[in-house]
Amino acid sequence: MAELEAVIGLEIHVQLATRTKMFCGCELSFGDEPNVHTCPVCLAHPGVLPVTNEQAIRYALQIAAALECEVAPRSIFHRKNYFYPDSPKAYQISQYDVPLASNGRLGDVRIHRAHLEEDAAKTIHVGDSGRIHGSSASLVDFNRGGTPLVEIVTEPDLRSAAEAASWARLLRETVRQLGVSDVNMEEGSLRVDGNISVRPAGSEELGTKTELKNMNSFRFLERGIEAELARQRELVEAGGTVAQETLHFNPSDASLTPLRSKEEAHDYRYFPEPDLVSLVPTEEMLREARESLPELPAARIERYRKQMGLAEDTAALLATDPATAAYFEQTAKEAGKGVEPRVVANWVTGELAAALRQDGGDAGAAESKVEPAALAALVAMVQEKKISNSSGKAVLATLVAEGGDPAAIVDREGLAQISDSGELESIVAAAIEANPDAAEQVRAGNRKAIGAIVGFVMKQTKGRADGGEINRLIEAQLDARAG
């Protein structure tokens, strides 16, 4: 049997950070006592009507622009009918056949559609077991009910759980940087469901998918998808078939339980919402959405790779978080023409990150005591061989601990590279003298033996000499003596 390939699409619900709900003026909040942000509209009293929140439309258009979607010139709302206590009207106002946005892309993943809808209320199941099936009653809190949501549906372009989790992170950063949502998975302002199937590698057909819910962190997202893929693979390899169902991921034991019995298939009886008129984004709204876009991670990664010559993973490390990106770009700018951005990038992601870790804090580069100008100056000094690599690391450690000017630290600690070749030559000569065995072995062709002599020089110069230069001088002197 051919290898089974994972086919994963994600459905993401993003709560918009508007001040009020989607269709009424109740204030949005998190963590307040139940039912203090309700009104006749969001409690679905008889006779009430929805009125659309303009800011939600603008935020959704920003998301559409960030995801490079096509915006429908005219879209409408539909009613999605289903009974559940968290849905006070017994229908959700959502978009159906004409979503606000479609055909987009983020990174390597295509966006199928992005549409506006309202969030459900919160039900708390009370009972002994704390589980849906064992509970005796539920309490409904309508504070969250009616929060504006953008639902983003991807094409099934993801091929592993890790890829899905890392793409979801990119999406979260993208939406966060638009400033249109808190995108907090624990608080539920970002919710990611997976549509998961497997198929023989190379096949174009899609297998039967399951829907995976309740993965309220990126770690659980990855583990949940991993677990479901394993379950499906085992099933298919044993000759079974995957049943279409919705599964609930339980992070505590990585188990998957069917969420609703599908005895009665869903029939949402969608029809156009007669209480609302159509949505026709104006040129002004579209322009505003486009112009409000900051440079987003995906575009920045692309720019770092193409224009700065950074490797993909380095670019991703620097570009995803806007503060880190700004720090890197400022440092590269300060370092000037003589230093390639690639070198600066390696310092930020390599030496600086290591030094910060060493320091024990969890501050990123941008929050550290190392000013971009200081790092730039340091990198330049190393590059110009004014100080050695190892002196550079020592200076960096000092900068991380107390900040300041690297040139001053170099002076203070006497770390300037020994540039007087006469001085270094005599130290090398002394080192050969002091290590006759090693010198003999090198002459006999064992190049590895040179390490002992180099180590001696390093010790003598306290690291102020360039390793390459030391090697060159030792070899030159040994050759001269032999000749």
Partner: protein, 115 residues
């Protein structure tokens, strides 16, 4: 255009011939979707009545309207939007005043599936 399945006669001397277009099982399925508990007798009556009504309604099925845009709305408005400005929400006791089973400031309902 042709008037499809015939005119809506108001002459009700001859009651419409009842063709069973909707059966008992369908009635039960629809009642489940609508969360309507129906007695056996109601299911029977409903099947007959709905069939009669649907037979009348089915006259429009014969109309050739393939190229016609549906009208879900006669209002020619678009972009009726509200500024994102909070209004005052209901005092909590008012919000819960009509609740059949208010508990701890919330609306209590039976659990989705009894044991």
């Amino acid at each position: 255009m042709a008037s499809g399945g015939g005119a809506a006669r108001l002459d009700l001397e001859t009651a419409p011939r009842i063709r069973r277009v909707i059966d008992r099982e369908q009635v039960l399925h629809v009642a489940r979707l609508a969360r309507l508990g129906l007695t056996d007798a109601e299911v029977e009556t409903m099947a007959g009545e709905l069939s009669g009504i649907l037979e009348h309604v089915d006259r429009i099925a014969a109309l050739d309207l393939d190229d016609v845009e549906p009208t879900s709305h006669v209002v020619e408005l678009e972009n009726v939007l509200r500024a994102d400005v909070p209004h005052e929400s209901l005092p909590k006791d008012v919000a819960l005043a009509s609740a059949p089973d208010p508990v701890d400031g919330a609306f209590r309902v039976p659990s989705p599936q009894a044991e």
